[in-house]
Symmetry: C2
Subunit: 141 residues, 2 copies
């Protein structure tokens, strides 16, 4: 191919999907960044700020802000690591876990409903292609 249509399409798909997520999590008073952090902690139990930054796609300076808001909302706790005092460990509070127990299954169901317009094979191929694109874009620095 010799045009950039694929990029346009990728951006559109991303945008619509992000909009769907945004609408979904807004019901719980969260934005997409906040939900991403909660989701990571929901699956990983405990993570350092660094660990979260690597998982969720947000620069460190923005992450401080997101984390601060989540602490203020009472959904996560932030405790300085004893081993390495530069590092802070994050986990869900009781409230945070209860929220995610309630919200995540619904969220997952809604998102799967979208992804299920693809059959298993298509979805697998999509993943592979996207991983390739992602890697190729990184080398581009």
């Amino acid at each position: 191919m010799n045009n950039l249509k694929t990029i346009t399409i990728l951006f559109r798909a991303h945008n619509s999907l992000e909009k769907a997520i945004k609408d979904d999590v807004l019901k719980y008073g969260l934005n997409v960044s906040e939900f991403g952090v909660l989701e990571a902690l929901y699956h990983k139990q405990t993570l350092s700020v660094k660990g979260i930054i690597d998982k969720v796609l947000v620069p460190n300076s923005s992450m401080s802000y997101v984390i601060e808001n989540l602490v203020n909302k009472g959904y996560i706790s932030k405790i300085q690591s004893l081993k390495d005092k530069r590092s802070f460990m994050l986990e869900l509070t009781k409230d945070g876990r209860e929220l995610m127990d309630k919200v995540f299954p619904l969220h997952k169901k809604n998102m799967r409903a979208i992804l299920d317009v693809l059959d298993e094979n298509e979805e697998a191929i999509l993943q592979k292609a996207l991983v390739k694109i992602g890697k190729a874009s990184l080398n581009n620095n």
Copy 2:
């Protein structure tokens, strides 16, 4: 499938790609939104603000800001339509066109270099899958 890995992968691919574009266009003192508008006008000659909003993925309130900056930088002109005085027509100025003549071929080459990690067939399949996902996400409102 029964997980949301595809979404994670899609978001990562989008982010890396957007970063690559950001780095590319920053060399010309543009951000991604601005470049998107210039690109649309480069291919379409003339578009109304509404027309651009539909092409580029930016809400109207943000678009006003983006357009204002491009007018200030001298890359586009904005003229009230005579037919419909609610509407404003945008096009590239001489400077804007010269910039794009210089920048776009390079940009395209860089982006194609990334997309070319896929063969023609893979890219076509990727497009189809992404279009499906995009549509499915919209219905989700």
